[in-house]
Amino acid sequence: MLDILEVSKNFYHRESGQEFQVLCDLNFRINEGEFVCLLGPSGCGKSTLLNLAAGFIKPSAGRLIFQGREINAPGPDRAVIFQDPTLFPWLTAIQNVEFGLQNAGVSKNERHLKALQSLQRVGLENCADVRPHALSGGMRQRVSLARVLVLEPALLLMDEPFSALDENTRERLQDELLRIWLADRKTILFVTHNVDEAAYLADRVLVMGPAPMSLVTEVRVPLQRPRRRSAFEIQNITDRLRMELGRQPCCIPVQKRSHGNENNQT
């Protein structure tokens, strides 16, 4: 479904005038219907990889193949949930959800109906006409989920979507995401730096490190769902992930941290 083939990504650092490598010769495959978490210290290039898969930036070397075709631009088949909900402040919740449908040329009535159903799915049908600034952080992230789910994307790319939320809200949203995922088995690539989150959500966790050792290891989570957060098996996985993460530097130096905002705009 998504193949990452020998992908490297370099960024140009303007102040020092040097190129530095964020991703190095990365290879892996994500299968249809899989829930994969990317875990790694901040600055290791997790978000860069997600931006590559989204088509926001282009790899310096290698290829990303999605459903048999090379990725070269963003599109609604690869939905992105950003860390910030990035709802358009000038549109109401339902208008935000309708935005993508309108781009797809869906008629007005159908659009409204679908958007409302999508909001219902995340429990926010009563907030349809509210603007984002009047919603809480958790509600905004729910709307941003509704905004992409309504487009029925083949792949969901999630970039630390719950990391800015409080503990309680985060767990609720994790459960809602799992409920939605179990219902229609979208493929999900989920970036996180939280070992508990990775162990609870994923089928498979890819542990990343700084270039040139971009992909450190892969940890499978062969556990039935629904899982119990406090279950012994989950704790085992968490310990294993924590150990793997502990071998990595706790964060990659600032000059290496970049999400590709300065150049490579597409």
């Binding site: 963003p74 000038w90 935005f99 600034h133 009047a134």
Partner: protein, 275 residues
């Protein structure tokens, strides 16, 4: 501490609110009266007092002609010129600003020119306008448009550049084409700056309009009336025109920009500088 700072200060009970809000006008009128009295006795010229100006204003409002035309005709003609030229300048300014804010190359080539345009004082366009269009309506139109254009463009460009790249990414991920990107993301996203650009442009246009009418010889309009009244020593009429000019300026802020801002930027929870 933060709570203290946020708390509004207690109103000063000695001065009721209404009094505070009219006091600038009272001060202004007193200073005017004082100036009129002093100048009239000192230089023995008929400096119009607030009182004579007010009675002249009333008679003009009553339909008495002022420099060959009714006051209404002057106001209307000035407004029409101003609005027509401003609409042309703001529509092209916003469109051009959006494009220059998005396409780097266009910005690099075009923006230095716009910045130079902005440095030309409004009245310095008079010879250019007369050379280009001769004396008349076209020349005033040109002057208003050219002085309103630059501030609009400059503000729109900075507005577009301040729209967070993440909104652009979100829109493209949701399948937005270029048209949608411009009209539904960049345009509303830079609206706070667009509004301040339009404000400056409108003000510039108004000031230059009045000045242009004085020189370019349009035959009607508030600026024309001021300069003509001076030749006939009808200073009270000139003062009436000045007052009307100020009132029109105030009204555009109160009736157009404040409501527009309330309806958009404030309702979206954006203040200037967000995004």
């Amino acid at each position: 501490m933060a709570a203290m700072a946020n708390k509004k200060r207690e109103p000063i009970s000695v001065f009721p609110r209404a009094l505070v809000s009219i006091s600038p006008f009272i001060l202004l009128i007193s200073a005017w009266e004082l100036t009129a009295v002093v100048i009239t006795s000192w230089r023995s010229v008929p400096f119009p007092t607030p009182w004579t100006t007010a009675s002249r204003l009333l008679s003009a409002l009553g339909g008495e002609t002022l420099v060959d035309q009714t006051l209404y005709r002057h106001i209307l003609d000035s407004l029409v010129r101003w609005i027509a030229a401003f609409l042309a300048a703001s529509a092209s300014g916003v469109a051009f600003g959006l494009a220059a804010g998005w396409f780097r190359m266009l910005e690099k080539i075009a923006m230095p020119i716009v910045h130079i345009l902005q440095l030309v004082p409004g009245l310095a366009w008079i010879p250019v306008a007369i050379l280009l269009f001769g004396v008349g309506e076209k020349a005033t139109f040109f002057m208003i448009a050219v002085t309103a254009f630059a501030p609009v463009v400059i503000n729109v460009v900075s507005g577009v550049k301040r729209v967070d790249v993440i909104y652009v990414r979100a829109a493209r991920m949701l399948g937005a084409g270029r048209k949608t990107l411009f009209l539904r993301v960049l345009l509303p996203g830079s609206l706070p700056q667009i509004l301040s650009g339009l404000r400056i442009g409108l003000g510039n246009g108004w000031r230059v309009l009045v000045a242009a009418e004085m020189i370019v010889g349009t035959g009607t309009g508030l600026g024309y009336a001021i300069i003509q009244a001076r030749w006939t020593l009808d200073y009270a009429s000139a003062f009436v025109c000045i007052i009307v000019i100020c009132l029109v300026g105030l009204a555009t802020e109160r009736l157009i920009f404040s409501p527009l801002e309330k309806k958009t930027v404030e309702r979206w929870g954006l203040s200037r500088g967000d995004l």
